[in-house]
Amino acid sequence: MLEPGRQSARREFVVGLARAAGVSSAILGMLDGTGEAAPRGEETDAAILSAAVALEHQAIAVYDQGARRNLVPAGLRSYATEFRGDHAGHRDTQIAILKERGAPVPDALEDYHFGPMAAGDDWIRRALTIEIAAQDAYGALISRIRAKDYLLSAAFILVDEIRHMTVWRRVLGLKIY
């Protein structure tokens, strides 16, 4: 469990990443605790789905940049490929749900302004921050989901995000238990 100061810093950091990914202000409010508690319903589900797709686009972009610029250490490429595949699956699943409901689907941004990234630990740290943001966002929003089938999907997506985060923490020598 994080202490209150660190919790608040982590929340700010997650909200910052979510904002950079193009997440709506209503969801940013839910993430930073300043927004009104939205009633569980179709509209909230669609807002969460849209935010989740935006975060998945951002995660895919980090992995694509790592592959394109050869930033991923050779011994870790199988993890990067697996995790990129997970994010693409999460994105496509949630886009399918949005389309079925006739809700607008957010496009990936042209540029996520990741800034300079060096190969090795620097890229891994960047991937880790994106995974932490995804985990925190799903963890914060999951109890607001109304549709049971989407709730089930979100739970399994969250399990994947935690695996990604744990692997990158282990690679960086950070505490994992």
């Binding site: 569980r40 199988s78 697996e82 595949g85 997970d86 693409a88 699956g89 999460h90 994105r91 496509d92 699943t93 399918a96 749900i97 389309k99 079925e100 409901r101 985990q135 963890g139 999951i142 109890s143 607001r144 049971k148 089938d149 989407y150 709730l151 089930l152 999907s153 739970a155 399994f156 997506i157 969250l158 399990v159 994947d160 935690i162 695996r163 985060m165 744990t166 692997v167 282990r170 994992i176 238990y177």
Partner: protein, 161 residues
Amino acid sequence: MRVVASRRAVLKAGALSTFAALVGPRRSDATDYADAKEVFDTVDRLEAEVDARLGAIAARLPSGRPLVSSLEADHRRHRTVRARLRGRLHLSPASPAVAPATDAALDALRTAQEALVYAHAEGLPALGDAAAVDAMAHNMIDLARHLAVIDLWMEMESSRA
């Protein structure tokens, strides 16, 4: 590369064109819980199995004791959360869990741990209470991390072999 469980594979399948294709016919191996009591009873049973397996591993492998003790501490916290939720949802308290006979096999621990994680994920829709979903999802986050740690442990063992 390890074999992924079929449920995760379904979620990864980017070719799915509609939500109905994903969840229309309920996945054959997914458990559809009737209510919160069934979820908590199942989680209690599966957690007892994981605890028993962790105990067997700690007894045989002293180097595994710090990990085991950390996971057991999380389980104790999770039991407190479930006891509070049982009260909140007006359910009877948990029956004392019976620890099954187990061995110290790491792959069997992984299977039991995965079942515990899946019970949480599949149980969320049956809880019918946002606060309970939030609390059980956060327990699930710990357990999914434990599962990832066990995976890494197994990968390390197999690369040593």
